[in-house]
């Protein structure tokens, strides 16, 4: 009997061209036994949600360094709701000012990670969602 794998979409919405952080997270999650769907740079909110739906992921991890998080993330949350992906959790990483983070957490983002967050922390938080600490 196969154990269910945790599936995570790692996406980089917006226009910035730096995917190092996203790749590091993707590898860390893989090394923790998860299946990571990595979609690469410059994803539109529509692409993010379509991928999350088709891939039936448990978690969406967004990496945004462009500063456009306050327009991109609410749009993604809105599309997620419309696609009825209510049980899919959204994690956000990037350079996010504290005030913005607060707003986004209230709007439904599960966690916000700044630069310097250890990958172990992210792995633990995701596992925590599924009761596998």
């Amino acid at each position: 009997m196969e154990e269910k794998k945790i599936r995570v979409l790692v996406a980089k919405p917006g226009l910035d061209g730096h995917d190092r952080g996203a790749k590091i997270i993707a590898r860390a999650l893989r090394d923790a036994g998860m299946e990571v769907i990595y979609t690469g740079l410059r994803q539109t909110p529509e692409m993010v949600i379509q991928a999350a739906l088709q891939e039936d992921v448990d978690v969406i991890g967004l990496s945004i360094l462009s500063g456009a998080h306050m327009s991109l993330v609410p749009r993604i949350l809105e599309l997620k709701k419309r696609a009825k992906l209510d049980d899919v959790q959204v994690f956000l990483g990037g350079i996010i000012p504290e005030a913005d983070a607060k707003v986004l957490l209230e709007e439904g983002v599960k966690a916000v990670y700044g630069p310097g967050t250890s990958t172990t922390q992210v792995v633990e938080d995701i596992r925590g969602l599924f009761g596998k600490a």
Partner: protein, 321 residues
């Protein structure tokens, strides 16, 4: 028919994604749903895309799907993209979607990434089962991209009606397939990265390989065409789509369609039997009995064949009655 399978037949993509997960994980619910949908399968053209890592398989799938939808806008096309599972962690990074931007949010396209989960042969154990779900859901064609193939990843041939082998210059010192023997499974040979200087030499090598495989041409025999493409800008893709179409017509007209369908189903059925068998012996040969016999093997008191025979008759047959 359950609500979930009904929703899948009604075109609910969320339900489809869910059911694929259940089938991929081989849950009881997934198995039941698959059997329930089975009558609705068998019409779809399954196309395999294989070739060395980095040859441009995903990029080609991206353009090919676009081209198919340009020719037939009413179609719904599915892609299953398989990438390897890490043997160390059991996790995977599935990256084929990176090259499928043009079709990523097209409502006529459904893309699903699958991790190989330890299966050899370039596919996952339940890839065929997942393709049956997509088949029942009305996707036609279904394109399956294998893990970047090395030598022996030829399982796709027993699962697809048409196999596209993607080659590219500059992946090694030579055309990869020449060493690999995956040429034998090709119905269509795509020489991608035709924008590269070494493409002429690569085509020569491919042609001589092909000539060895087909020393003489019989009437009505399918000989794989060699088609040049640049998958990053769509050059040559119309010809690939045309060849796919022609191959499908050839299969129907020669009776090979049924033959391939039978091979697919036989592989499926045998796979399920083997799995059942495996589960049974794990169930009926108790751990302590296994250990006892195994200890004697370690001590070299009992030879492997004799040990297997003893476990089979003294444990398996006895316990399973």
């Amino acid at each position: 028919m359950t609500d979930l399978t009904q929703a899948v037949l009604n075109g609910d993509r969320r339900a489809l994604a869910r059911l694929i997960t259940l089938v991929e994980n081989d849950t009881g619910e997934g198995q039941q749903a698959l059997d329930g949908l089975f009558r609705d399968t068998g019409k779809t053209h399954v196309i395999g895309v294989t070739g060395a890592s980095g040859a441009g398989k995903s990029s080609l799938v991206n353009c090919l799907v676009e081209e198919i939808l340009k020719r037939e806008p009413d179609k719904s096309v599915a892609v299953i993209a398989v990438d390897p599972t890490s043997p160390f962690s059991g996790g995977a990074v599935l990256g084929d979607r990176i090259r499928m931007r043009a079709i990523a949010d097209n409502p006529h396209v459904f893309i699903r990434s699958m991790a190989s989960r330890g299966a050899l042969g370039g596919l996952a154990q339940n890839t065929q089962a997942v393709s049956l779900v997509l088949d029942a859901a009305g996707y036609d064609p279904i394109i399956i991209e294998t893990v970047g193939a090395g030598q022996s990843e030829v399982e796709i041939a027993s699962l697809a009606h048409s196999v596209i082998v993607v080659e590219a210059p500059g992946l090694g010192d030579d055309v990869q397939a020449a060493k690999a023997g995956i040429m034998e499974i090709a119905d269509i040979l795509v020489l991608n990265k035709a924008d590269k200087a070494e493409v002429d030499a690569a085509e020569m090598a491919l042609r001589s390989m092909l000539a060895m495989g087909f020393p003489s041409k019989e009437e009505g025999m399918w000989v794989p065409p060699i088609l040049r493409t640049v998958a990053t800008n769509g050059e040559g893709i119309a010809e690939v789509a045309a060849a796919v179409h022609e191959h499908s017509a050839y299969l129907h007209q020669s009776g090979n369609w049924q033959k391939r369908d039978q091979i697919r189903l036989q592989v499926l059925l045998r796979g399920l039997l083997e799995k059942k068998h495996h589960q049974e012996w794990e169930e009926f040969i108790h751990r302590d009995e296994f250990q006892q016999v195994f200890d004697q093997v370690i001590e070299r008191e009992l030879a492997p064949h004799a040990a297997a025979e003893r476990l089979y008759t003294d444990s398996f047959l006895k316990n399973s009655h």
